[in-house]
């Protein structure tokens, strides 16, 4: 790679979009979008889920064709009909979901994406050169399944950089990274910028954008709302542009005297062996959640969160009933139905396929977990009016944007479906709520509404356990924070006494009682 791609001083913008329109059957996804990316800038693209960011980027990357509008590259109009066209122009993209074959090596995966045939040795040398040059430690001979998520992302970035792109598009790159990995990524991006490469950076994380980006374009409802200098804006003002209204303020924390109350959810010395080869064993996990408090569990995905969720929800049963107590009642041997009767509600990790059935209506999806709720099932028959009524109450109370209770779950955006699932659990008036990644991949407006709902539920006296990778989220809503690493859980500490550095260190497995060696090597993340 030739190192620098600097344009002359008075050069036209590297990429200019003029009046891009794109519609899918029934929806206008991009509405006359203008966007300019200058040479050597990091340009943020902000917007809620469904604002049209991904569609716009797919048009730039040649995956989709615009219905109308012009794309100018270095000032000249171009037609980008395929990702190969984009690559030839010098546009590279790092997707949010990695496209890597786990059983192949790094070099083999890279070779699959190339159009020309390159001998493996030469390719490995090129990979090493790029990874050394940018501080992206990637060993070409390692297999993907041995790599952590952060390392996998580096493979994708190296693959992209091998094409010597003048414009790199990154879709939510930090959503899978630890804070430290994110900082390392920012260093790489700044180095690319210093070489004169342009970067289009899609993210929800407002603080990150303010720290990293020179300019930010905000999309709302398919239209470009504003292009601003994020350093001149606050996180709140950016959020306002994105959502269109003032983001709600979380109500001040009421002093509920939670310390004195009897625990509502207790896990005591839980040991659980993995039930599939890629799982994590849980070892000696203990925690306590009292009424009126939120316990947050931080940690990088794949450290046992999934196993803990399944043990808590009743999807996996344990031999020793006392390992989990709900409201003081031993419950570890009970299935999900009996645990719900004790007052447990669960927001699972996956929205589609676990928390909701994509092909079923919202009314049917309400029934999925609320069937013990008054009147939905009578004499073994489903009461249609009651289920639609319950679903409508959820839709109304939690501001779910949907065509009503007869809409299919998969027709909702991620944020709206998550609001529906959380609303469905909360309207059942649980005494204990366990939620995994409640705002993962959810737009900022929905995330704020979900946080408010959780805090309201806490203030009504429920005990809440939130498992999340998003530290900002835990700092916002949790009263105490504990960290899970390699299947072991740290002691919890009050949120105000837990610094981000401490948490970051604990995520790396540095706490009392942590596994001496990360069990089973690096956690595997799909």
């Amino acid at each position: 790679m030739d190192g620098s791609v600097r344009d002359p001083v008075d050069a036209p913008p590297r990429l200019e979009l003029r009046g891009i329109c794109k519609s899918f059957p029934g929806v206008l996804v991009n509405d006359r979008v203008d966007l300019t990316v200058r040479a050597g800038e990091i340009h943020a693209l902000l917007g809620e889920n469904g604002a049209g960011k991904s569609t716009l980027m797919k048009i730039v990357h040649g995956v989709l064709a615009a219905d109308s509008g012009t794309i100018l590259w270095q000032g000249a109009p171009v037609r980008i009909a395929s990702p190969a066209d984009a690559r030839r122009l010098g546009i590279g993209m790092v997707f949010q979901h990695f496209a890597l074959f786990e059983s192949l090596t790094v070099a083999e995966n890279v070779a699959l994406g190339l159009e020309e045939r390159v001998p493996m040795d030469a390719l490995a040398a090129r990979i090493r050169a790029v990874s050394d040059g940018y501080g992206l430690a990637v060993a070409p001979e390692r297999h993907i399944h041995e790599l952590s998520v952060g390392e996998r992302q580096r493979v994708e970035i190296v693959r992209c950089l091998l094409g010597d792109p003048h414009l790199v598009i990154l879709d939510e790159p930090t959503s899978v990274l630890t804070p430290r990995e994110a900082l390392a990524l920012f260093d790489v991006l700044r180095r690319l910028q210093a070489e004169g490469r342009s970067i289009l950076y899609i993210s929800h994380k407002l603080d990150e954008i303010r720290a990293l980006c020179d300019r930010a374009s905000v999309l709302r409802g398919g239209r470009l709302v504003a292009t601003v200098d994020p350093r001149q804006e606050t996180a709140r003002s950016l959020a306002r542009m994105m959502i269109g209204t003032e983001p709600p303020d979380l109500t001040a924390r009421a002093d509920t005297g939670a310390d004195a109350a009897a625990p509502m959810l207790e896990v005591e010395a839980l040991d659980l062996d993995r039930d599939d080869p890629h799982g994590t064993d849980l070892r000696d996990v203990s925690l306590t959640v009292r009424p009126g408090e939120v316990l947050g569990i931080a940690g990088v995905a794949g450290n046992g969160q999934n196993a803990l969720m399944r043990a808590l929800s009743g999807e996996r049963l344990l031999a020793r009933p006392g390992a989990i107590r709900i409201g003081g009642v031993p419950a570890a041997h009970l299935g999900p139905r009996a645990r719900r009767d004790l007052g447990l509600a669960v927001v699972p990790e996956e929205r589609l396929g676990q928390g909701a059935v994509p092909e079923l209506t919202l009314a049917e999806n309400a029934l999925l977990s609320a069937y013990r709720h008054g009147g939905l099932v009578r004499g073994g028959l489903v009461h249609r009016g009651q289920t639609h009524g319950f679903a409508s109450r959820v839709i109304h109370a939690f501001n779910v944007i949907a065509r009503g209770s007869a809409a299919e779950a998969r027709s909702l955006s991620g944020g709206n479906l998550q609001k529906f699932i959380i609303g469905r659990e909360i309207l059942q008036k649980p005494r204990v709520l366990v939620a995994a990644h409640p705002t993962w991949g959810v737009d900022a407006g929905s995330a704020a509404a979900i946080h408010q709902a959780l805090v309201d539920l806490r203030d009504q006296g429920a005990a809440i356990l939130v498992i999340s990778q998003d530290l900002d989220e835990l700092y916002t809503i949790a009263d105490r924070i504990a960290v899970i690493a390699a299947g072991r859980l740290s002691e919890s500490r009050p949120t105000h006494a837990a610094t981000a550095e401490d948490i970051g260190l604990m995520m790396g497995g540095l706490f009392e009682g942590a596994a001496p060696e990360p069990a089973g090597g690096t956690p595997h993340v799909a």
């Binding site: 890629h278 999807e315 299935g335 999900p336 990790e349 676990q354 999925l368 073994g380 249609r384 991949g441």
Partner: protein, 373 residues
């Protein structure tokens, strides 16, 4: 300009109901070509196959006679299929139902017992359920594939029936033919219309349509079957038992197939012999899918598939075509149905070829990255 498929934002409800008709139409077209290639007047042959059987009251009554076991078997299969329980052995369960009910009839002989028919109904259903319980037990206990187990048990059932009518149950006065004695009058289902073979078994099928309709469309257990079938992980999250759905699916299939077997031997046949079913249990699989796993759809599809049996017979008689024509048409209809089902999720468009992409409504939702724990 090219023909291309464009993904729909949501499943088309119109197409769900329309594609069976599209498939029937395409089958007719394929039939035209087939008959022409065989050197027959295609229009006439198609008339003989699809229309002629319906022009007499005898033909109509035969249609209902043949549709009865098809509808019964398909209804039971649909319960399992909705829950991803693949019972392929309705044929064997039907045979066991016939053996259980027939055994009772032979034991009774010519005695006039008012409770005999209800007892035979119960015995037939029990026989089918017993046979279906084997794959259910092996699946829930040892995770054995129910497709293979239920299919292979069909051949065991056929051999069991063959052994009985060649051996212990052979009619002593039957000139050594492999068949049982004729059932006594009190073991025969009364006719619905005098002078035809149409019997009260057809009413059993209608009652079963109603019962399965309530079970699948309105009961909570039917909802659980649907959830487990569509998204097993969601079923696990909700606390629905997979094993319960497997048992329900197979036992419903067994009970209704067993009832179909009882209806056959106690209705049109009146005795046991090795060929009590021309593959009703297998054809019922096509009926279930052609009817969209919906009880009313199954009723219509059962009538249609019964027509292919009758049409095959009339073609044999009038044009001298082999009996295999029935099987060919049944295969064609399933083939075209599966092919045209693509229209439920996609629409046909004329236009230049483009890289197909998912519309916003159907794109995969962002999910937390996680290990395969």
């Amino acid at each position: 300009m090219w023909l291309r498929l464009e993904p729909r934002p949501e499943r088309s409800r119109v197409m769900v109901y329309l594609t069976p008709l599209v498939a029937a139409g395409l089958t007719a077209v394929a039939g035209l070509i087939l008959f022409a290639a065989l050197g027959h007047d295609p229009g006439h042959a198609l008339y003989v196959f699809f229309v002629a059987p319906l022009t007499s009251s005898f033909g109509l009554s035969e249609l209902f006679v043949k549709a009865t076991p098809l509808v019964l078997c398909a209804l039971g299969l649909a319960v399992g299929f909705r829950g991803n329980v693949w019972n392929i052995g309705a044929e064997g369960q039907l045979i066991l139902g016939a053996i259980f009910a027939g055994g009772l009839a032979l034991w009774a002989g010519d005695a006039d017992l008012p409770w005999l028919l209800p007892a035979m109904v119960g015995a037939g259903m029990l026989g089918g359920m017993a046979w279906a319980a084997i794959p259910a037990l092996l699946r829930t206990r040892f995770n054995a594939n129910e497709i293979l187990v239920s299919l292979m048990l069909t051949y065991v059932a056929g051999l069991l029936l063959g052994y009985l009518v060649h051996g212990p149950w052979r009619d002593p006065g039957g000139f050594n033919f492999p068949e049982s004695a004729l059932f006594g009058d009190s073991a025969l289902l009364p006719a619905l219309v005098e002078g035809t073979r149409l019997h009260v078994g057809a009413l059993f099928a209608l009652a079963a349509v109603g019962a399965v309709w309530v079970l699948l469309m309105h009961s909570f257990i039917g909802f659980q079957v649907k959830v487990i079938g569509m998204a097993p992980r969601a079923g696990g999250y909700a606390g629905f038992s997979q094993a319960r759905v497997v048992w329900l699916g197979l036992l419903s299939g067994g009970a209704l197939a067993g009832l179909a077997g009882m209806v056959e031997v106690s209705g049109p046949i009146g005795q046991l012999h090795p060929q009590i079913s021309p593959g009703y249990g297998f054809t019922a699989i096509i009926v279930a899918f052609l009817g969209r796993l919906h009880p009313l759809g199954i009723l219509l599809a059962g009538l249609f598939m019964a027509l292919t049996y009758l049409g095959g017979d009339t073609l044999q008689i009038e044009l001298g075509l082999p009996r295999a024509v029935t099987g060919v048409f049944q295969g064609l209809i399933l083939f075209f149905l599966l092919a045209s089902d693509v229209l439920i999720h996609y629409r046909l468009r004329l236009g230049p070829v483009r890289v197909p992409t998912a519309p916003p409504g159907s794109r995969p939702q962002a999910q937390p990255a996680q290990s395969g724990e």
